[in-house]
């Protein structure tokens, strides 16, 4: 070892401004291993993301034809409840009558439904407070004082457009991405 350092490396250091061949090899090797190590971590982290079979269930088709006016159904989208509600003319009028500047999360019913399909309110059945399922979609359930949904966990009340009106929830019930595949069917997700 002593002979190596004494001859080859010492000579090089004079010519190359103090950078020895060994320094170059050291930095190159450690950088290469470092980058490789970080790249190897990516699949180890990514494996915890939703797998292909979970993503395959990430869209839900709903047939609207059987849902009467004033009725609502619960179905499942991404393993969570989805509320599909056929609003009555009275409920639409109630929702439209609200001055949205007074709302915690200001949105009109138009903004929460598709053009020309104002009677179909499609929202997640997940309270925006801490994720309980609000009541009001099933027959005879407590709809809260605003006639929409009522979360029994911490008392959040939603109105007929599923907007938050009272209680701790910060936001309106989420409207998932969906589109009409025909006059009476939607594809959520």
């Amino acid at each position: 070892m002593a002979t190596l350092e004494g001859s080859a490396d010492a000579d090089l250091s004079k010519d190359d401004g103090g950078v020895r061949r060994r320094d170059f090899i050291n930095i190159a090797a450690v950088s290469f291993a470092g980058v490789g190590g970080v790249v190897a971590l990516l699949p180890l982290v990514n494996q915890m993301n939703p797998s292909a079979d979970v993503l395959a269930l990430a869209s839900t088709e709903v047939d609207l034809s059987g849902i009467q006016e004033g009725q609502a159904i619960k179905t499942i989208y991404r393993s969570q409840p989805l509320f599909v509600r056929h609003l009555t003319a009275k409920e639409i009028a109630e929702a439209d009558a609200v001055d949205i500047s007074t709302l915690r999360d200001p949105q009109t019913l138009e903004q929460r439904t598709v053009d020309g399909k104002k009677q179909w309110l499609i929202t997640m059945g997940v309270c925006t407070h801490l994720g309980c399922v609000p009541l009001g979609a099933g027959e005879g359930e407590n709809k809260g004082e605003y006639g929409g949904y009522f979360c029994p966990c911490h008392g959040s009340s939603y109105d007929t457009a599923a907007r938050i009106r009272k209680g701790p929830a910060p936001l309106n019930l989420e409207v998932p991405p969906y589109s009409y595949t025909s006059e009476t069917a939607i594809l959520v997700g």
Binding site: M1, T3, P43, N46, Q47, M48, S51, A52
Partner: protein
């Protein structure tokens, strides 16, 4: 726990000084695998395989914990959750192939590590405890690998579980109750699968604990070296870091290249296609063999085909197989030659290579079907295996005339160097 000239850990920043007074963990690491561990200056690449075994253990634990996140230990779904991992989980195929091939690579590097120890006499005083703890690790590895192979619940898993637990059935009188107890039933089923999963998760951490003892025992006398001559002074050693971290880093690079070739281009080469058929208790695969790393021992198991007096052949095979490993626990006291390294033992060296060939032949026969000529070859090779340790080694130790040993490690290194480059350096030292 080290040589007096070992470099002392000196924390530079106040935070590290503060930590050193309260929990000297950085000092511990520095003395174990840092500049504070003086290592013989003449280690060759065969000394890489200890670190590589540790690396393989880490790969197995990391990929194994990930596999467990996607696995269901229930005989109704186990096979399908493994397929789910392969097809649906992000990079799940990579995790499983890395885990399955990682087991093979773990055994490859451990076998090289063991045969390094056999050639250079690393098991001799004062390093017997390192050898014994290493054998404990080896036994734990075999148990872990076997139980892991059962978890995918394919045909080979199922019949492997049945055959290996059947080994215990060979024990007279209590054998069958023991087998039933091990399986939690009369054949492998949900109970067996669950306990194997539980233990397969536990044992790697037991291995990690014994590895710590193994390294602790290593640091008492320090590493052995290719000459087998003990370290005599500071000129015989270099600090572990950076000299052997660099050398082990190079070895790790080569390891990863070979590992990547297997994982990406031949992931099922060492596996068995029958294990992609779900376990079926009504049909045994035509040719049932364990994984390659068990083949030499499997050959010894099958070498016994006739009853010997009152001992049935089945029991003899099982006893011989366990004895072939337990025998190694007595090796430090069977090889009584005071010379460690095979380099200075001309007669031992010849028989060492014959033993290696013998184990390879046993391995080949263990993977071959149980028919002639393999049964006969297994019998001869198994007999030779036992003869090597019980008869040949003690005789060599008694009659061999070893070559003259170098005066020190440094002398050996300089003599080798002197032949080609600097003859003048030899008398100077």
């Amino acid at each position: 726990m080290s040589f007096p000239w070992a470099k002392e850990y000196t924390p530079k920043v106040p935070l590290m000084k503060w930590l050193d007074d309260r929990l000297p963990l950085p000092r511990f690491v520095y003395n174990a695998v840092g500049g504070g561990y003086p290592v013989p200056r003449n280690l060759n690449f065969f000394w890489n395989f200890g670190v590589l075994s540790g690396l393989a253990l880490v790969i197995q634990i990391v990929t194994g914990i990930i596999m467990a996140m996607h696995y269901g230990a229930n005989d109704a779904v186990a096979f399908w959750t493994v397929e789910h991992t392969m097809r649906d989980v992000n990079a799940g195929w990579l995790m499983r192939y890395a885990h399955a091939n990682g087991a093979s690579f773990f055994f490859i590097v451990v076998y090289l590590h063991i045969f390094r120890g056999l050639y250079f006499g690393s098991y001799k005083a004062p390093r017997e405890m390192i050898w014994l703890l290493g054998l404990v690790i080896f036994l734990l590895m075999m148990a872990t690998a076997f139980m892991g192979y059962v978890l995918p619940w394919g045909q080979m898993s199922y019949w492997g579980a049945k055959v290996i637990t059947g080994l215990f059935g060979a024990i007279p009188v209590v054998g069958e109750p023991i087998q039933t107890w091990l399986l939690g039933g009369f054949a492998p089923g949900n109970a067996a699968l669950n306990r194997f999963f539980s233990l397969h998760y536990l044992l790697p951490f037991v291995i990690a604990a014994v590895v710590i003892l193994h390294i602790w025992a290593l640091h008492i006398p320090g590493s052995s070296n290719p000459t087998g001559v003990e370290v005599k002074g500071p000129q015989d050693t270099v600090p572990f870091h950076p000299y052997y971290t660099a050398k082990d880093g190079f070895g790790a690079g080569v390891f990863f290249i070979a590992f990547a070739i297997m994982v990406y281009f031949a992931p099922n080469f060492l596996g068995h296609p029958d294990n992609y058929i779900e376990a079926n208790p009504l049909s045994t695969p035509a040719h049932i063999v364990p994984e390659w790393y068990f083949w030499p021992f499997y050959a010894i198991l099958r070498a016994f085909t006739v009853d010997f007096f009152f001992i049935p052949a089945k029991l003899l095979g099982v006893l011989a197989m366990f004895a072939s490993i337990l025998l190694l626990f007595f090796l430090p006291w069977l090889d009584t030659s005071p010379v460690r390294s095979g380099r200075y033992r001309p007669l031992f060296r010849k028989f060492y290579w014959i033993l290696l060939l013998d184990v390879l032949v046993l391995g080949y026969c263990g993977g071959a079907p149980a028919e002639e000529p393999f049964v006969m070859i297994s019998q001869v090779a198994a007999a030779y295996y036992f003869a090597h340790f019980l008869i040949i080694l003690p005789l060599i130790a008694a009659y061999e005339k070893p070559l003259p040993l170098p005066g020190s490690i440094t002398e050996a290194v300089l003599a080798k160097h002197g032949e080609t480059a600097a003859p003048a350096a030899v008398p100077a030292e």
